[in-house]
Each structure stands twice: as structure tokens, then as C-alpha cells.
């Protein structure tokens, strides 16, 4: 169920909408599944009155988790060797996020076929919210 080495080439891109009009309920779902109950992400009163933010915002790890879907949809769910990145700006309820995965390199290492990917997730204003890289195993 991986991606075949013969089918990828450097410069290939894969674009995917991750979420359209992000709901506050999705933030609550992520809190419950991950165990990160930081009230900044689910408690509007706390986020505004106590912490001084305009309101609740998404866990960075929700953005990274949603972005991971664009990577695993491309390479397969059990093929990742590395995945990492940087949180650029906050993601807010109502945001629409789109990820673009780009093939940076296709290489062999230690008898394995590998693909290096870069990934950029932007919001509806085109601002980068998450930028990262991944390395995955390819099928022969």
C-alpha cells in the first residue's frame, strides 16, 4: 500500500484540503483524543478573559496531525521514517487549511527506497500555518 518508486519524481506535488471552516467542536475532539486539555483550545472564556487571546485556537498538534493526512494519503499510513515541522501562525475556528506536499528527492539508502518530501499548510488567506518535511519508504 506504499507508493511505487517508479511513480514518483522530484517536483511532483500533491495538494489537499485538510479542513473547510474549522469548528470549535473539532478542537474539543482533538483535546479528548490527544489528552491535551489546555483551556486555550476549548475554553473561550479562559482564552479571552484570562489569557488575553481573541478566542480559542487550534492545538499546533491538530494542524500537524491534519497535515500528516496529506502525507500518509500520498505515501501510505505505515511508510513514514520521519515527519517534522514548525508552527508558523495560529489556526483559528473558521479557518480553511490546504496542504501541499512536494517531492524533494528520491534516493536509496541502506538498501531502502526513500522519498524526501516538504509540506506546507496554508490558511484561506494564503498564510503558512505549518511548514515541515517528511521521509518515507517507497515500494520497489
Amino acid at each position: 500500500m506504499g507508493l511505487s518508486a517508479a511513480k514518483v519524481k522530484v517536483g511532483d506535488t500533491h495538494e489537499q484540503v485538510l479542513v473547510d471552516d474549522l469548528t470549535r467542536t473539532q478542537l474539543v475532539m482533538y483535546a479528548g483524543a490527544s489528552g491535551d486539555y489546555n483551556p486555550l483550545h476549548s475554553d473561550e472564556l479562559y482564552a479571552r478573559e484570562q489569557a488575553g487571546y481573541p478566542g480559542v485556537f487550534a492545538h499546533g498538534m491538530l494542524t500537524m496531525g491534519m497535515t500528516g493526512r496529506a502525507v500518509t494519503d500520498l505515501v501510505g499510513a505505515d511508510r513514514l521514517k520521519k515527519y517534522g515541522g514548525r508552527f508558523r501562525v495560529q489556526v483559528w475556528p473558521g479557518d480553511t487549511l490546504t496542504a501541499t506536499v512536494t517531492v524533494d528527492a528520491v534516493r536509496d539508502e541502506g538498501g531502502e527506497h526513500l522519498v524526501d518530501l516538504s509540506v506546507v499548510t496554508v490558511n484561506q488567506k494564503g498564510e503558512q500555518v505549518f511548514t515541515g518535511n517528511a521521509t518515507a519508504l517507497l515500494d520497489a
Binding site: 490527544s34 487571546y53 498538534m61 496531525g65
Partner: protein, 159 residues
């Protein structure tokens, strides 16, 4: 953070996949399920001392009658409050996977501090970065995932 026992469970994988909006059917079938890429973050559920989870009988940083149970009223500005601005945020996260995780795996996790550095930020004033490395091992003691996070503490609210 130390987690002695983090069982990888099919139901938890399904809930996590739903939470990140991933409808891939692989996550719904216990026979095919693998952990999504960021799943080990949910080891927080199995950390008895995890600070970002309310605990029975203890005041919680989030709101109840007041915007925070820890603040002791807004005018007093108690220890839990951060009304004056400044907060800890997640800046970076990196994973190295040594093999896929499947239901039935039982992990343990140990963390250690990495480097710390400072920078002047445009939006947040002085920013202090600190690195934390978590190693996840399976029931045989083999390293399965290495996670490196970078947290940032800012001098003022960034939004």
C-alpha cells in the same frame, strides 16, 4: 514526563483519526490499524501527572464561575493567571519512526531536556526556546519513536 505504560489501542487510534479529520478506513479496522503520524502525542493520556488535564478535587486553570479557577479573582492576579500576557506555545515538533505502531504495542516513554536559546521576536518580544526529547520504547525495550519538540515562551501574547 515519564510514561510507564502507553498501550496502543485500536479504539484510541479510531478516535484520534476522527479528531484529525482523517477518514482513511485503515484506522477504523483493528486488523489493519496503524498509529497516525502524530499519535504518540496522546501518551499524555497515560501520564498520571500531566499538567494539562483537570484532576478531581484540584483547581483547574480553565474557567468555571471565573475565567480561571487558579486566578483567585481577576484583580488579585494569582499564580495561575497569565492576564498580563505571555504564554508557552509549541514551536516545532519532529518525529523519527523506527517502525509503525499497531494495536497491541505497549510503549513506555522517557523525556529529557535538550538545548535552550533566546531570540528577540517581532510579535512576541523576547522569546525563550527550549527543546525536549522523548524516546518511546516497546515492550521489548526497542526504540520505536523519537520525538523532539521545541517550546517557546513569549514575553507577550501572540495572536
Amino acid at each position: 514526563m515519564t510514561v510507564e505504560r502507553f498501550p496502543i489501542e485500536a479504539g484510541h487510534i479510531l478516535l484520534f483519526a476522527r479528531a484529525i479529520g482523517d477518514p482513511n478506513p485503515i484506522y477504523a479496522d483493528p486488523d489493519t490499524a496503524v498509529a497516525p503520524p502524530t499519535f504518540v502525542q496522546a501518551s499524555a493520556q497515560f501520564d498520571p501527572d500531566y499538567s494539562l488535564r483537570p484532576k478531581p478535587g484540584q483547581p483547574w486553570m480553565g474557567s468555571a464561575k471565573e475565567p480561571s479557577q487558579l486566578a483567585g479573582g481577576r484583580d488579585e492576579g494569582g499564580s495561575g493567571g497569565s492576564r498580563s500576557g505571555g504564554t508557552g506555545l509549541h514551536a516545532e515538533q519532529h518525529y523519527e519512526y523506527h517502525r509503525p505502531l499497531r494495536p497491541g504495542d505497549v510503549l513506555s516513554a522517557t523525556s529529557r531536556s535538550g538545548e535552550t536559546w533566546e531570540r528577540e521576536g517581532k510579535r512576541g518580544g523576547k522569546m525563550t526556546f527550549s527543546e525536549n526529547i522523548i524516546e518511546y520504547r516497546d515492550q521489548k525495550g526497542e526504540l520505536v519513536v523519537t520525538a523532539r519538540s521545541v517550546g517557546v515562551r513569549t514575553g507577550q501574547v501572540v495572536a
